[in-house]
Structures are given as C-alpha cells and as structure tokens.
C-alpha cells in the first residue's frame, strides 16, 4: 500500500502570470540542474468563439516535487509557494484546500507524488 497523501498545492490559475518563479525557486532549493525541477509552468492559448482567445499559465508539479517537506516541517512555506509572484499557490491539507476550491472558479488542486 502506498502512503496516503495528506498535503497538496492549490493553484488559482486565474492569477498565474507565467512568471516561472516557482520553477526556478524549486530548482534553487534542490539545486536541480537546468532541465529538472519540481515544477513546470505550461502556457495554454485557447481559441474561443468570435475570433477570441484566452491565455492561461499553469504550474504543474512534476515527479521531482517533494512538497518541500524539509521546509514545511520548519514552518516555512514551500519554496515555490513563498516566491510565487502572483501569490496564487497555497500549500495545505488536501481537505482544507478542497474546501477552498469551492470559493471561486479556475482552481486546480495538485496532490504531487511527494
């Protein structure tokens, strides 16, 4: 039986600006070489009716994300969460974050491998 996950990252992707701070914060924290990081930021340009389009960025925790256990155990925020320029990421217990999700649209809750 794999360990049951307890913690996750809540992303309010309405406000993610694609600044890549999370990705580099993680690379710095874990000294990953370029090409590896616990977070990857994706750009999605979606075509809409009437010749319109919508631009979204979405941070995605990769197989390298360890949810910053060493930081959170000291009461610190995960490196990506602290530095997020748009303050659009939240770390916490899955159930609490799931409740938060109900407050507004354009949210995603990640439960990384950790």
């Amino acid at each position: 039986m794999p360990k049951q996950p307890q913690y996750g990252l809540l992303i309010d992707y309405e406000y993610c600006t694609g600044c890549y701070a999370c990705q580099v914060a993680c690379a710095q924290e874990y000294k990953w070489p370029a090409g590896m990081a616990g977070m990857r930021v994706m750009e999605v340009v979606q075509k809409l009716p009437h010749d319109k389009a919508y631009l979204t960025y979405l941070p995605f925790p990769t197989e390298l994300c360890v949810l910053c256990a060493s930081r959170t155990s000291k009461g610190l925020q995960p490196a990506c969460v602290q530095h997020c320029m748009a303050a659009c990421m939240k770390y916490g217990r899955i159930e609490e974050l799931a409740r938060e999700m109900g407050k507004k649209p354009r949210m995603v809750l990640w439960v990384p491998r950790s």
């Binding site: 600006t17 890549y20 580099v24 690379a27 370029a34 530095h83 320029m85």
Partner: protein, 817 residues
Amino acid sequence: MKRGERKIIRTTTWSAGPGCHGGCGVLAHIEDGRLVKIEGDPEHPWNQGRLCARCLAMTQYVHHPDRLTRPLKRVGERGEGRWQEISWDEAFDLIEKRLKKIREEFGPESVIFSMGTGRDIGPWICMLAYAYGSPNVMFALSGIACYSPRIAAVDTIQGDYCILDAAQWFPKRYDDPRYKVPKCIVIWGYNIPASCPDNVFGHWIIDLMKRGTEIIAIDPRLSWFVSRAKKWLQLRPGTDGALAMGFLNVIINEGLYDRAFVEKWTNAAHLIRSDAAKLLRESDLVDSGSASNFVVWDMVRGAPAVWDATELDYKQAGVKPALEGDYEVRLASGAKVPVKTVWSAFCQQVGEYPVKRVSEITWVPEKDIVEAARFYAESKPAAIHWGVPIDMTPAITPTVQAIANLWCLTGNLDVPGGNVISRYAFDAVAYALPGTKGVIKLKSKEADSKRIGADRYGPLNRFIWRAQTDLVLEQIFTGKPYPIKGMWIQTCNPVAGIGLDPKKWVEALKKLDFVVAVDLFMTPTAQLADVVLPSATFLEKDGLRSWWVPLQSINKAMTVAECKPDVEINFELARRFDPDFRWQSIHELYDEIIKPAGMTYKELQAKGWAFPPEGHPSTPYHRFEKGLLRPDRKPGFQTPSGRIELYSSIREEWGLEPMAHYEEPPFTPVSQPELYKKYPLILSTGRRSPVYFHAEHRNIPWLREIDPDPVIEIHPDTAKSLGIGDGEWVWVENWLGRCKFKAKITLVVPTWMVMATHGWWFPEKPGAEPSLYGVWESNVNQLIPMSFQGKDGLGAPMKHLLCQVYKASSSEETGNA
C-alpha cells in the same frame, strides 16, 4: 565565522543580478563567502517574500564560471578577442593616462559616458563624467526612448511625475486606511514581465485585481492582462496618441470630466491670442507687465484679468474667469486682438478626433473606444499604468500629454487609488532622473554648454541632463562641432541590446581612440573595448535606493574575486580626474545624499528601509492642494503657471505644438504605403521575457532552459499563408537587413503583426569578430534605424516597423545552444 556556517544578509535588489529597476527585499544566504541561496524577504513591504525567476537564479549568476574577475587589457586588434589580465592599479593608471590625454588634446566633452536602462548607475556615471569634466552622459537608446521622455513630458505639463497608486508609500500597503483600491486600471502597453520596470513591482496589479480592480487593456497583443480584462482595445502599434485623443473626445462630449478640477487646477481659463497662437501674457497688455504672468477673461468685470504666476493668484480680487469663449483684448500697442480660452482651444483640438476617425486610425472598433472611455471616466478612483511603448514613438510628448490629460480631467491625480505623484523618498535623490538634480553636479554652466543636443532640444535643457543619443552617434562620424574620441560604457550593451542599427555602433566604436567597458560578463560590446573592468552584482555592494518610496539600503553580503561595484570603480577614477573631488569615502557621499531623510547611511542600513512621514512632500495624497509640491509652499504645481497646463507654456517656448495631438509614426502601413506592399507585416519588437532582462541572462542555465531561442510570434493564419510551421526558423527582413528567429505560431498576435523578441546574442558562441557571440544572427535592432527621434529629441520608432517573414532553408537553420 566557522566553516560551513550560514549567515543571512538582508538587502535590496537593484540592477546587476536580476537586472531590474529593483526594490525587492531579499535574504541572501551566505556560506564560506559564497551565495548558497537567495529568498524573498517576507517582512519587506515591497514584495512580501515574493521574488522573480531572475533573482532566484542568482546563485548561477554570481558564481558563473564566465564572470569577469580581473581587469582585462586588449592585446590584439579591436574585436580580435585577445585579452591580457591586469591588476586594478594598472587598469586605473592606464585609463587615467589615456583619458587625461584625450582631455588635454580635445577637451573633456570628447569622451562620452554611456549607460543602460534603470540601473544603479545614474548618479555614479555622472559623478565620473562630471569629475572628468564631460557633460556628455548618454543613455544609449535612440531618442533616449525609455521612461525619461515620459517623465519629462509629464513634468512639462504637470511639474511632477505620477504613477499608479498601489499603496507603495505605506508600510501596511493595501491595509492602510488612507488607501483606496482603484476600481479600474488602464494597462496601456504593459505586460506582466516580472521585470518590474519603472519602479512598479508588476504583480502589485494582480494584488489589486484580487481586491476588485477591473482592467482595461490597451495592447496589440493578447497579453495576460488582455485575457483578464473587462475591455481590450487591440490598437495598431504606434496609434496610442490617437486613442487617447478619442478617450478625451468621449469624456468631454459626454461631460464625464471633473469640471471643478479643470477650473481650479488647470490653465483652462488662460487666454490664447488667436492672432499669434500664443498664450496671452501680462506683458502683452501693459508694457510694464511680466511675461511670466498669464491672463484670463474676468466674467465679473467683462475684462481681462492677470494671473500672477508667482503669487498664484489673480492681481485683482473677486475674479471669475471664463472657461469658454472668444473675446477681444487691447494690447499695450493699442491693437485689438481676438483671444480664446485654453479650454476652448483644447476642446476644439479634441473635437478633431471624433470616435469614427480614431477608430479608422487605431483599428479599434468605435464601440469599444466609447465603452472603455466611459468605464475609465466613471470609475472612481481609476488609474492608468503605462509601459515603454509610449516612449518608443517619435511623437512621445504629445501622446503623453493626451494620456496625462485623462487622469487630470477625470480628477484622478494624487488621489488614493489614482495616479499619484511620485517623489524620491524624503526628496533624497539617489538616481538622477529627469526633473531632479542630485548632489552630483557639473562644475559649471560653461562645461554643460557643450552637451550634445542641448542646444537643439528643449527637454534636454530643462529636464533631461543627458546627451542626445542619435546626435552623439552622428557626431562620432562627422566630428562636428567637435570630435568624439573616447567612450566609457557601463551597464550598457549597445551592440546587442540598447543600440538600434547596431552595425553602426560597431563602426562608431572602432573610430574611437579609447573605449572602456565595465560589465560582469564579456558582451559583444565589451569585445570592442580597449579595457574591460569587472563589475559586481547588487549582493557585492553597499548602495542606496530612493527611487520613489521607500528609501532603501543595499547591503553588501559578499565579494567575488576582484570584482568591484560600479560606484567604487567610478569613485576611484573620479578622485583621479578631479583634484577638487570632495568626498573621502562612498559612505560619506551616501550620507550627503540621504541627509534630507535625517539619518546617516549606517542608520539606514540598520533599518533596511524607511518611509517618509505623513505631511512630507514624498508621501501622498492631495499634495497640490496642501502646498506640498512647490518650493514656495503655495498650493499648485511646479509649472510656469502653477497649474496643470493643458496648453503647455514650455512647449510653446520651445516652438513645439503646445497641446496633445496625434502624429502618424514614420514606418507604418499608413505612412509608408509603398514599403508596406513589399513588407506587408507590422514588425513590433521587445515583448518581455519573464526570465531575461533585455540583453542579459542568456548564459544562466535555469533561465535559458525556459526561453532557449530568439522567438518571433506569428498568427496561425499568417504562418499558414507563408508556409511556416511552429518551431521553424524564419528570416525577418526589411529594407535595413534581416535576421533569424524561431517561429512561435500563436494566437496572441493578430494576423497583421509579428512580434520579435529583442536583445538576443549567444554567450556560448565565439566572442571574437565577426561572430561577436552570434549577435548578427538574431538581433532585431538591425531592422530598426537610428535618427528618427521626435521633434523634441525624444522618442524613436521601435514598436512599429514593417517587415516580411519567410522560411529559412535547412542549411540556414540555427541550432544555437
């Protein structure tokens, strides 16, 4: 300290490193003298612990294996890439000797001191240039077209600059009871690049959106803001002035302006002579009258009345000035002339921009213009936040006048949540932007008389104490009116970044007798120098920052090899050049600069940052009403009339159009229909990368990974018609040259425009000529000319050129890294 022990230094970002205009509080983790980690400072009111990708990559920057660590002397030909390491003493001696020789033979003005954008360099490069005796400090962009023109233009009509209010003046920020969240922010040509230009932390706007602010986005590209905007005005690049005139048209016709503000705080009631198209002055009416005083039509007496611009009052009591109308006055000569009020002339001018015409010029639908103008005018408070595209057009000043008139007419100036007057914290000037003079000055007016362009361009004599860049470049070739023999280049990379027509800059550098470059890494520009000095990041220096509020100290956390901070390099040479140089140490100089704050530099360092108190001219709000803006403490503005000048007396003095208007830029489908047939796409440049600051950071692995190639954005339909696939290499070409980009096929650009990224060179490629780190492959500035500055010497066309795009053959493709 024990080995392996970690100390954490609290400091402030600025320039070398993240490259930005700075302001973030950071905690630098140092072990054994090395930076092991950098984090945002959660206690800092500026960024609250946040930090951008570039700053988070500082460990790779500070300890980069390619960093220059010792001074270099050229041993081969210029550009051959052969260098010899020398000591600082040798470097200083050599520079002193060579530059003194030029000074003796040709005069100090023959050496240009060139800098790049927004760095912690303004005062220190001035300190060096002025100690040497040269007035020719140059910001190396054509038309000085970044920020200074906007500041100068706003100063011209308003006396003080102003910026978006994000409560940055208060330690508690958005929670300060004095503050109001704007209902609407107009984002005018600005994206969230996390490069924090113009001293606004870009993501503050997101904080405000979360607190309810709605956005009007003015941008030809589908930016992040556009996707989240209530209204998007997708204008043709370069037509911002017309759009702003259209806004004014709607606002005036629909009566959406603040008439009380217009009457009380602008020069709307002042009279203009219809015969001479000039403001009527007291001296026109009576021989003994002052030419500095203006005249209104007093409705009570049915006669002209004099506005005393020194007393900021009418000379008679009980004057009720007419806002509108045509009148007749008798001049001192006895002649009768027709006059009209500024407001009448202004409304007439605005009347020339009906929404239909504006829509034709800007390509924005009429309905959208009207609705956006109404929404802005009806939202209280509302703010406008603009970006550098406003500077990057030759008619920058009239464009700024139109936009600035918007925040004035709607009563949004210096109110909570509006456009708030921005002063240096405590009026301590650490960065000599337009409108201010710091403690560092040229010795004499005589020395300044040789400044290139100051005789020709008004703003250069009133607000911007720089040489005019386009004229400098021309003068290097003509040698007229005097020869240019040397250049000191610091925080600046004209061959790869800031220089338009960069091949001409290379030619120019080669004509000079002596060139010094100060940088952290070798660059295409530094390759053409005679001496290269290794400079330091913000982590390696003591500094200060009062670029608006708060006042902050930069605290040295570490050193790297023999690198020296810019200020130290310049201080040492300034001492050598000027026998009267009056500071003994840099801290003594800093003490003098921050004296108005009532603390010493050491005290500031201990605090980290300091906010000026309520009631200080550098703390908002309503300062013009409280008499906090003018040295005489009278309510009003620091303009010649003491009022916001809808009709600019200063522009009139310069012989330029005094009121806001639109001028078509030089290289557009409208102004160049013939060229447009051959080059059928609008070429816009310079959209920001979140991980680069202009020409920097291509050598930082974490950052390069995110944005590996020079990219041009092309709409899918356009790409299809050109047979170009996503990720394919293409040539972008116009009458000036061509360069290569990787196509990014995306809906973020319209079909009629392509957007090319700027500042590209390849630090991994050979540095020696002809390669110069591959700078000729993808530096888009090769497609943009110099010498198209505006009539006042400011602004240049950088966002609206023309081009064609075609696929590169497979042999021409570039695999870069």
